[in-house]
Symmetry: C2
Subunit: 124 residues, 2 copies
DNA sequence: ACATATACCTCGGTCATCTATGTCTATTAT
DNA sequence: ATAATAGACATAGATGACCGAGGTATATGT
């Protein structure tokens, strides 16, 4: 199934950080891995990923280093920092909150406790 | 919890259609209803909603009519068309697919059958 | 009478993603 | 040997979604 691209908007940084949680990766590899893990739902474009990686590095969520392949080709590997791991945890929490809220609007039953509802105010 | 606004991007039309499934509503009412149902997660702005409603009407997903309040004020009510109902069903399906794919990338266990995986091709 | 809430609307800015394009190197096909 | 393809990085400009800010007008509360 093809997903309207704007749906993905906003969750891309989280997905990239999630990929790096399982080990250092280079850009091109992330695109393939994301495509594979999502069963072809997310076909991230290079024009999206590379600028995003630069932004994540600027914010110190990831660091990068160059590494040679056996063939002599150079790759730029990215590594998750502890700050990036914290950010991932935050983004995952935000993601849970978001999907719970959408499901609530769509009218799906929500398991109690999920929405962290404030206790109902006393009606005088 | 505050949600980064770009997360919502793309799912807004679905949410609006979902609201109208429960009966005709006017714009201002939808904003309040969305805020209420989502426990203040979605605070849709007028600058977002009104142009969106016009677009939905243009695509024949909704129709509109004017109606007076007891006080004499005029409101513009929107009503879901059968085409809009179909669109909502499609968008909900897309939404399920999307969240399943994100969860797969995040590494959460996925209930079997959800991802509609093609049977593994025979490896010769 | 004045402020606030209700109710509609539009314009322009911001930001995320994609399209298109470019570069360079390694591998595969002819 | 040479051409074509795939791998790997990068950026510029277009598109599109959402919001901020502003505008108009009526009803209600003080």
């Amino acid at each position: 199934m093809k997903i309207e691209k704007s749906l993905l908007s906003g969750s891309t940084p989280m997905l990239v950080l999630a990929l790096l949680k399982d080990g250092d990766k280079y850009g091109y590899e992330m695109i393939e891995e994301l495509d594979r893990r999502s069963d072809h739902t997310f076909e991230l474009k290079e024009g999206t990923l590379y600028p995003l990686l630069h932004a994540l590095e600027k914010e110190r969520f990831v660091t990068s280093y160059a590494k040679q392949t056996a063939g002599g080709r150079e790759r730029k590997y990215y590594s998750l920092t502890s700050k990036g791991l914290e950010q991932l945890a935050y983004k995952e929490k935000e993601w849970r909150h978001f999907t719970t809220a959408v499901d609530a609007v769509l009218g799906f039953a929500v398991a109690e406790g999920n929405m962290s509802l404030a206790p109902a105010p006393a009606t005088i």
